[in-house]
């Protein structure tokens, strides 16, 4: 087909039992029940899970008397004595410690509202961010008035879930140099249940591109900050200093007070304003193409319902190189083969 447009018919599901029309009430039907039963632990709303009252009832369940029922269609999860049902589909459910990517939707009294794809918008308190001028600085009224100069509606950031409120909404913080405003890249959203849980969600990928997999399914693909490849001009000392900070922080993997305040000079002041900069670095056309290729590889996996992590994404990228020009990757049949190739490849390796 031409390279301009591809129109396909919606995927046609296998026709169901032909007899299913005009059924008699007395007739016992047993369509696919037996098949579905084979797959253990799949429950639907209203289905009795257990009448043993010793289980603790978690998400996706409800109880009447001693009996626990499922409230969603999904799979039963038993952790110690906690019983919950994970729905097949659903919005992101924040948990403390999650690394998320979010977008500011509102600036209100001392707090930002952040869209993280959950049922409720998350809040980011003014007190939970690093402000220019050193981390130990006290937040003043001026800061309250100029909140929009740090983060405004539409801005993307990555953050950690600090705590979860009773209603399931999250409070975020960016009190670490790993977190904060995002630049130099593009945003990709995939279902949150396709993100494979890991220790670390920020990764450098081959080709000078980095990725942040938000646990909430919001992902950020961007030009790697520490780019030592030749052809890139010498970095300013300021940039290097900034990167050193990032590295050190990543190594400690925790925020250490006093860090960043050891040199309260002009340079430091400027560097910390940089974390709220809206300006992109210069990004070469090749890097942009690589970012697009990663984007399409990521979407290929998500469109065909394959969970992702950095190894899978890197592999999918590698596979995608075999499919010719990057513009080919938009087509859904090619996305499908990328996803299938990846799965077959993994099966072969065991």
């Amino acid at each position: 087909m031409s390279n301009i447009i591809s129109i396909t018919r919606p995927s046609v599901k296998q026709a169901k039992d032909e007899d299913s029309d005009d059924m008699d009430i007395d007739e016992e039907l047993n369509l696919n029940d037996a098949k579905a039963k084979e797959i253990q632990d799949i429950v639907v709303p209203g289905e009795l899970i257990t009448d043993d009252p010793s289980w603790m009832r978690g998400h996706g369940t409800y109880y009447l008397g001693e009996k626990t029922y499922s409230a969603v269609a999904g799979v039963i999860l038993r952790v110690n004595k906690l019983l919950s049902v994970i729905p097949f589909k659903g919005r992101y459910n924040p948990e403390t410690g999650d690394h998320v990517v979010g977008r500011i939707v509102d600036v209100t009294n001392k707090r930002w509202k952040v869209d993280v794809g959950a049922e409720h918008d998350a809040v980011l308190m003014l007190g939970a961010v690093n402000l220019p001028g050193g981390v130990l600085r006290r937040k003043s009224e001026t800061d309250e008035l100029q909140m929009r100069s740090f983060l405004k509606e539409g801005d993307l950031l990555n953050a950690e879930v600090q705590s979860v409120f009773h209603d399931g909404s999250a409070a975020l913080h960016t009190r670490s140099l790993r977190y904060g405003k995002l630049r130099n890249g593009i945003f990709v959203s995939i279902p949150s249940n396709l993100i494979i849980r890991a220790k670390n969600y920020a990764h450098d990928l081959p080709g000078g591109v980095s990725v942040i997999f938000g646990v909430n399914g919001y992902c950020w693909l961007y030009k790697t900050k520490l780019d030592n490849s030749p052809g890139v001009g010498p970095k300013s000392s300021l940039e290097r200093k900034f990167e050193a900070g990032v590295k050190m922080d990543a190594a400690n993997s925790a925020f250490s007070p006093g860090m960043g305040s050891d040199a309260p000079n002009k340079l430091e002041e400027k560097a910390s304003w940089d974390i709220y900069s809206d300006k992109n670095d210069s990004i070469s056309a090749t890097t942009k193409e690589t970012i697009s290729r990663y984007r399409n590889s990521l979407l290929a996996l998500s469109n065909f319902n394959v969970a992702v992590n950095e190894t899978r994404l890197a592999k999918a990228y590698e596979i995608s190189l075999g499919y010719g020009d990057v513009s080919e990757l938009v087509k859904s049949d090619i996305q499908k083969s990328i996803a299938e190739d990846l799965i077959n490849d993994e099966k072969m390796r065991g």
Binding site: K16, I25, A36, I42, P45, G46, V72
Partner: protein, 246 residues
């Protein structure tokens, strides 16, 4: 044109069904994954309904201004009835009374079905589109909402399945089409799961009270059958979603 008999002495209805037979029923979930949190498609005979659920989400995201409630979600059900849905083209105004009534009945029904306490201060938007109408509107809407809410992963106490039942002299007829609906008194019943409990009952005609029990019993049997079919689809789609998620 000679008038067709609603129910022949041989026990056949205009479309050849017997008194206790449902029309062809088919359904699908997750039909619009990119446009909604949950979606479904339901066909009962020639009545075809699409349902798209958005949410639960913060109330400030709702398309209409909504006040948050601390006890549970705000459920906004919108019924859109495009001009081409019937045999004759007819343009309906967006706030036609019958349609608002329909959405109020459905809202009440599902506020009793959703596990409210999980969704305080959120809004759930439900958009129904009637692609083709041939009777049993309330029932088809109700079934498609159930499926779309389940697809969205929203906590429900149980399925709600609904069907219409009409009365022809002494006989109760299951799942009426629009020709039968115009001739007979009928009632729509919605049943909770596979129990005998009713969640929804709506009757807009005069109906002899002594026959009501018979109608409801037939309706409950029909609903159980529908629930089974819906359940099969939900599991099938779920298994498919799981199978690929390595």
């Amino acid at each position: 044109m000679s008038r067709m008999e609603v129910y022949s002495p041989e026990g056949l209805r205009m479309d050849g069904r017997r008194w206790n037979e449902l029309r062809q029923f088919s359904c699908q979930t997750n039909t619009h994954p990119n446009a909604s949190d949950g979606s479904s498609y339901v066909r009962q005979g020639n009545t075809v309904v699409l349902c798209l659920v958005k949410g639960p989400m913060d109330t400030n995201r709702a398309t209409s201004t909504t006040r948050a409630s601390a006890d549970g979600p705000v459920l906004n059900i919108n019924v859109s009835y495009p001009p081409f849905a019937g045999i004759e083209r007819k343009k309906r105004s967006k706030n036609e009374r019958r349609l608002s009534e329909l959405s109020i009945v459905l809202e009440r029904c599902f506020l009793k079905t959703i596990v409210l306490k999980n969704y305080a201060r959120t809004v759930i938007e439900v958009n129904l589109t009637i692609l083709s109408f041939d009777g049993g509107l309330l029932a088809a809407c109700c079934n498609s909402i159930t499926l779309a809410l389940i697809d969205a992963g929203i906590s429900l106490y149980d399925y709600v399945s609904a069907v219409s039942v009409g009365i022809y002299s002494e006989t109760a007829l299951l799942d009426l089409n629009s020709l039968e609906e115009s001739d007979l008194s009928f009632v729509t019943v919605g049943v909770v799961g596979d129990s005998d409990k009713l969640n929804l009952i709506m009757c807009e005609d005069r109906l002899p009270l002594d026959k009501l029990e018979r109608l409801i019993n037939l309706g409950i049997q029909g609903c159980h059958q529908l629930r089974k079919l819906m359940n099969d689809t939900v599991k099938e789609v779920g298994v498919e979603l799981l199978s690929k998620r390595q």
